[in-house]
């Protein structure tokens, strides 16, 4: 039931009122369903049978007024429910999205895109359905059943009691059914989520699929998910159809009992024929709510299982948040210090005892083998993850004491895995800084050596580029990502292997541009190329999560370690450490 409470909590005051009014309308209109049959019976008895036209027009206008009022109220009710459910769903969607945006990266490491999508589309749809439809169906059925029962009770309590005796039986059947069906719905939406994930990954990886001509394999993989989802649906249907005959039978029992027990009572002189007519003509008002019950239970249980999934991410709380006592840093300077920082991922050590300091305006170069933890340093600095031990200081203040918005605003990263949004080139460059003028966007693009190819695109800066930058070459994406980072005019500029796909001339041009940026910043340059880091004030070599070499280019060349070896490899120099060592001795 907490699912319903949660839904209610997310309805604002105004729409709660609207919702309640709609529920009242629902009750009134469903009770009013009994008026017109009553008026019609007057019409028949007093007008048609009595051949008295005096009452004809009043009764008919009565019927018309009741019908117009009832249907009008019905329409108003439906629209009010639509409106309040839409508003609530709007609130939920908005909060869900907000919450998702602030989840830490670890959350996204464990939740698949397809699964999150299912929660925020299909599951969320059931929340709407619950408020806009299930709600009034329940009220309708309940009011109709109870009001008819009460009405009957005053006419003949004995017969009514016998009819009402069905209720506990019905409750038991539906309770049992609810219990059985709920896990099945959970199962079914799990299958849906799996299918969604399979389709989503197939779309995202369509290039790899084609490259390996795995179309048939992918179809087979998807077929399995598709079939599982279908089978799960069919299984639910099977269970439902096992219970359906019982519920339907009980509903029919109402008519059966009315007619035959009624007949028996008349014979026993316990009931008059006129009373029985009322019973039989209204027995549908008892049977229909019972019939609806089955469908409602299916809907409600499905809503419960879907809503639980939505609630899970609704209340997911990130561990990385602003501390209450976070200090204000309106003007970040860019002085960075790592003190004995260690970090592990799923019990695998990624960084161990990392210490270094980069002063304001200086450049740090990071180089090291694949998987040595270079990108992790950036992730930790921007607090995408928190360190296990040690501390990171920015401007002399532990980054945990910074406000996240300010911390991340101070750091501009050109990411290694370039993700671009399906937006214009202009919009992508101004991603982190919406206030840029067109001129400024061009200027940053020029500095990132992107202006040239952008101008050659069909619509220049207004060209829409695809998600992940599909359609652009690796080098083009990297340059847009660089322009995007520069555009935030950060105090700390991080280039995470940003020039790997660029030819050398372009890289040289970019290096020149970086040396004369129109704003002051500390630079962290991660690269595989010695040429990118060799002019840095300080270079660290990261191997297996540890700093193994540290110093300026000349120092590191002299050390004859990883750095020197890489330098030699990249410059086509023969590496002859043995001879070197011999020379030293």
């Amino acid at each position: 039931m907490f699912q319903i409470r949660w839904l209610w909590q997310n309805t604002d005051k105004k729409h709660r009122v609207i919702f309640i009014i709609a529920m009242v309308f629902s009750a009134v209109t469903s009770a009013a369903l009994l008026i017109n049959p009553f008026l019609t019976s007057i019409l028949v008895d007093e007008v048609i049978v009595a051949k008295d036209t005096k009452l004809l027009l009043p009764v008919l206008s009565g019927i018309l007024v009741v019908q117009v009022l009832r249907q009008g109220l019905r329409y108003a009710m439906v629209m009010m429910l639509e409106s309040s459910s839409q508003k609530t769903v709007y609130n939920i969607r908005s909060k869900l999205f907000t919450n998702l945006q602030y989840q830490e990266i670890r959350f996204f490491d464990t939740h698949r895109t397809g699964d999150l999508m299912t929660r925020m589309t299909g599951d969320r749809e059931w929340c709407r359905h619950c408020m806009a439809f299930i709600s009034y169906s329940v009220v309708d059925s309940l009011v109709m059943f109870v009001s008819t029962l009460i009405f009957f009770f005053f006419i003949n309590w004995k017969l009514t009691l016998i009819l009402a005796a069905v209720a506990p039986l019905l409750l038991k059947v539906t309770r049992d059914y609810s219990k059985i069906i709920r896990p099945q719905f959970i199962e079914m939406r799990e299958r849906l989520s799996e299918m969604n994930t399979a389709a989503q990954e197939n779309i995202a990886g369509n290039r790899v699929v084609k490259a390996f001509s795995r179309e048939e394999y992918e179809c087979g993989k998807f077929r399995e998910k598709n079939r599982n989802f279908r089978d799960s649906n069919l299984h639910i249907n099977k269970l439902w159809l096992k219970h359906f005959p019982v519920i339907e039978g009980l509903a029919n029992f109402m008519t059966l009992a009315t007619v035959f027990l009624g007949g028996f009572f008349i014979i026993q002189k316990q009931l008059t024929p006129g009373e029985l007519t009322i019973f039989t003509s209204l027995s549908w008002a008892l049977a229909n709510p019972m019939r609806n019950l089955g469908t409602l239970i299916n809907d409600i249980q499905r809503f419960f299982s879907c809503a639980s999934k939505v609630i899970e991410i609704f209340y997911a709380r990130p561990l990385i948040t602003d501390r209450e006592d976070a200090a204000d840093h309106p003007e970040p300077k860019g002085h960075i210090e790592f003190k004995n920082v260690s970090f592990s991922f799923n019990n695998t050590k990624v960084l161990e005892n990392i210490s270094f300091e980069v002063k304001e305006g200086e450049t740090l170069g990071i180089i090291g083998p694949t998987g040595s933890g270079k990108t992790t340093i950036v992730n930790l600095l921007a607090r995408l993850y928190d360190v296990d031990s040690g501390e990171i200081l920015l401007d002399g203040c532990n980054i945990r004491m910074w406000k996240l918005q300010q911390l991340r605003g101070a750091i501009g990263t050109a990411t290694q895995d370039v993700f671009l949004f399906s937006d214009t080139v202009d919009g992508n460059i101004a991603f982190g800084n919406q206030g840029l003028t067109e001129e400024e966007v061009r200027d940053f693009a020029r500095r990132a050596a992107a202006d040239g190819f952008i101008n050659k695109m069909p619509e220049g800066y207004e060209t829409i580029i695809g998600e992940r930058g599909v359609g652009l070459s690796g080098g083009q994406k990297q340059r847009i990502a660089l322009a995007r980072a520069l555009a935030t005019r950060p105090a700390v500029l991080v280039l995470d292997d940003t020039t790997s796909a660029l030819d050398n001339e372009t890289e040289k041009y970019i290096q020149q541009q970086l040396a004369e940026l129109p704003f002051k910043c500390t630079r962290i340059i991660i690269s595989q190329r010695v040429s990118s880091v060799k002019d840095a004030d300080q270079i660290i070599v990261l191997e297996n999560g540890r700093i193994t070499e540290k110093g300026k280019h000349e120092d590191l060349i002299r050390r004859r370690g990883y750095y020197c070896e890489t330098y030699a490899l990249q410059n086509d120099l023969p590496v002859d450490f043995e001879a070197a060592k011999a020379g030293c001795e």
């Binding site: 945006q101 995202a204 998807f222 249907n237 007619v259 086509d572 023969p574």
Partner: protein, 600 residues
Amino acid sequence: MARNKFDVDETLESPFSFAHLKRASVYIRRHRYKMLLALLLSMFASITGLFGPKIMEWVFDIAVPNEDIRLLILLAVAYTAIVIIGILFTTIRARIMAYVSQDIVYEIRQDLFAHLQKLPFSYYDSRPAGKILVRVINYVNSVADMLSNGIINTILEFINLVVILIFMFNTSVTLSWMVIAGLPVFLAVLMFIKPRQRRAWQQQSNKNSNYNAYLAESIDGVRVTQLFARQEVNISIMQRLIAACKTAWMNAVKISNCVWLSAEIISTLVLILMYIAGVYWLGGAIVSFGVILAMGQYVSRFWQPIINLANIYNMFINNVAYLERIFETMDEPVVVDDIPGAVELPPIRGDVEFKNVTFAYEPGINVLENISFIVKAGQSIALVGPTGAGKTTIVNLISRFYNLTGGEITIDGEYDISKVTLKSLRSQMGIMMQDSFIFSGTIMDNIRYGRLEATDDEVIEAAKAVRAHEFIMEMENGYYTEVNERGSRLSAGQKQLISFARTLLADPKILILDEATSSIDTKTERLVQEGIRVILKGRTSFIIAHRLSTIKSCDKIFYIADKGIAEAGNHDELMEKKGLYYKLYTSQLQDGAKPEPLVV
């Protein structure tokens, strides 16, 4: 090619027509016998239902007045039997229809998915992934009921209508015409509403699609968003999108709900008119009193199916908006496909020849012009040149990701690649593209994607060759560690190594590496080269790279510029020439670094 972004509605060209339903009939027809059976069962159930009132009549007219309890019990038993038969029929029908509707959904979804597999890169490149996804999952789910129960119920309601009409006309022709007179009014309302309703639901599906697109993008791009602390901007964009969803929805239901409302009101008006006419005519002895009573009952029984039909119609209109989108995707032309009579490419040696190849992505703007070259089996070719010169295009043409604008490409001197099946062509090539993609699953599965029947040992072998074995073994579950695309488990370089292993495992005759090692450090790269040297012996390879060490060791180097090959030759020849390649090579060396041993 115009691209679509998350906040732009996709236009839909085709006008509404029942053609969409006709088209859907392909799926329905497969189940026609089951559906016919379901229909018959439903009809039987209604017919048995007709006996109910008859039995009740006997109860009141015979059993009760005669105080015959035995007859009463007998009738009760008969009634129970009828109820049981009715329930039985209904249950069986529901079961059959569950199969039908689930199968229809399953088939449409599978066909849609299979078609998507054939669509060219440009299809995926020109729209957000979320907009494709919503069609495969959500839209297909929506049309299920319409195509199964919707159709059966329509037929049933029509039969109902006809039966009632017959009864009505039997009772009173004049009054029947009056009752029917309401119908044109209702139809006029329907016709008036329809175009608006349809537009409103299309709008709603557009807005929903936009929401999906941005949602998918935001999830995938969350790292960038957080790094740029842009959550607030994104949230306000999202709020705009969901507000648009809300408006579109409200607009659509506002119109849609008018359908039942008008049906209810019109039916009441008709009923009232019928009573007035009946009563006044009654005085004139045209209509008898019993007739009016009966007609009063028929009016509601006539309009009930109409109201039901109106509701079904409503559902049709809403869902046709989705159906349109599904068929639109299925109609998307498959640009690169097997030609009729395409032959299987037999196991190849690996010669590749370009004959006057010209290519344009968009007509009139040639990216490559008149390129011709011959590569012998086993040769390694490096493609170098400025970014955007068309290096990637050339390698994409070899694996026929695009059709040529002019000229031809042959393999082993005799097979035109456009005349062999795509599967036989691509399965003999190993293509590693700029973006490595990691599927969610274990590392083992990811590498095995290259050759599905490979044993664990073979997978490990491939991983060892590309020097990925060490870091994989360091992970908590080794090869069985779960990874995914967005996850930060793997560094960019590690992802590349895994996709490299995947490509090697495919055991290709022609290997294409498009900046495959850009994120891998030089030392590892060197080790990888050593590791794969044996494996690659005798295989043709095309390599796009920036690193000189990689390029230098190739048998031949093509310098791509100005829509063609500006220079070709091996490293020494090109250095001799002192042309474009020479310039590129020397510029890449560190200033002052001279090619002599680094000995102090």
